[in-house]
Symmetry: C2
């Protein structure tokens, strides 16, 4: 379990590594200026940099990459007991991923406003998600479908389901 | 560009495929009850099912999987000109991914409340994201770091940066 005291020297070590990765991402990796690490019991178990343009994957934000690598290292979809250090406040996609990964804590350095100033849409997406669906700029619509509950019924009926 | 009229017969075809995938995910794939497809000009270019537990990846929601596959098919991190059909209203992680992927439109069948009733945290995560950081149940904290702006400065200075 990571120590969460603000004066924890591990904080500085892990955050410096996230910031180093963010800078290397631009200068060597060809990706956006973001880096992240997942730490557990004083050790880094997953590192990530932004891979959106080099990998052609809009979901390959540093935090998502670090989470996926840490899960692979632990062979577990839960990162309970771990903390994430991000060079910048995570966007809503990555914040959602942090909840799904059951991370204990999130530490970040730059803010969503810093990201917006550098040309990234994080603040815009936060505003959009907080709107009612019909007020979002994204065209989104519920299509009433007769079979919409069938997958959930199959889930309830499935004896070997693994909750997550 | 997908036709967005509600009576578009393609809507039904694509949504039925998303729902079929969601049901198959439980019965054959060992994943959660969710499916999604990315469509472009009347064709499906990416399919996804929930792979969280089979792949040990908390980010492998059906929408994320479908987006990544569609991007691979187009060799592009932008899905502008495409629409996503999801068996259920996307969680905040996936909604964020939909914005980053520049999808034109999102159609869904079941709602976040249906997902919550089946035991999934989508509604909880929406509530959390809308809170101020200090009011969230997730422990999150900004660690002031001297070098926090260095990655953005490197980005500005990098002539070959690819915006996304």
């Amino acid at each position: 379990m990571p120590d969460a005291r603000n004066d924890d020297p591990a904080h500085e070590r892990f955050m410096n590594e996230a910031l180093r990765l963010a800078e290397a991402s631009v200068q060597q990796g060809g990706g956006g200026p973001f880096g992240a690490v997942v730490a557990r019991e004083g050790e880094i178990i997953g590192r990530g940099t932004n891979r959106v343009t080099p990998d052609g994957d809009p979901t390959a934000h540093a935090e998502i990459v670090a989470i996926r690598r840490a899960c692979r290292a632990l062979e577990n979809f839960s990162l309970s007991g771990c903390a994430l250090y991000a060079s910048c406040e995570p966007c809503p996609m990555c914040l959602g991923a942090i909840y799904w990964a059951r991370l204990d804590a999130l530490y970040y350095a730059a803010t969503r406003e810093d990201a917006a100033r550098a040309g990234f849409d994080d603040a815009f997406i936060y505003e959009e998600i907080e709107q009612l669906p019909e007020q979002r700029r994204l065209r989104m619509e519920r299509l009433p479908a007769e079979k919409s509950q069938r997958p959930f019924e199959a889930w309830e009926a499935h004896d070997e389901r693994v909750a997550y």
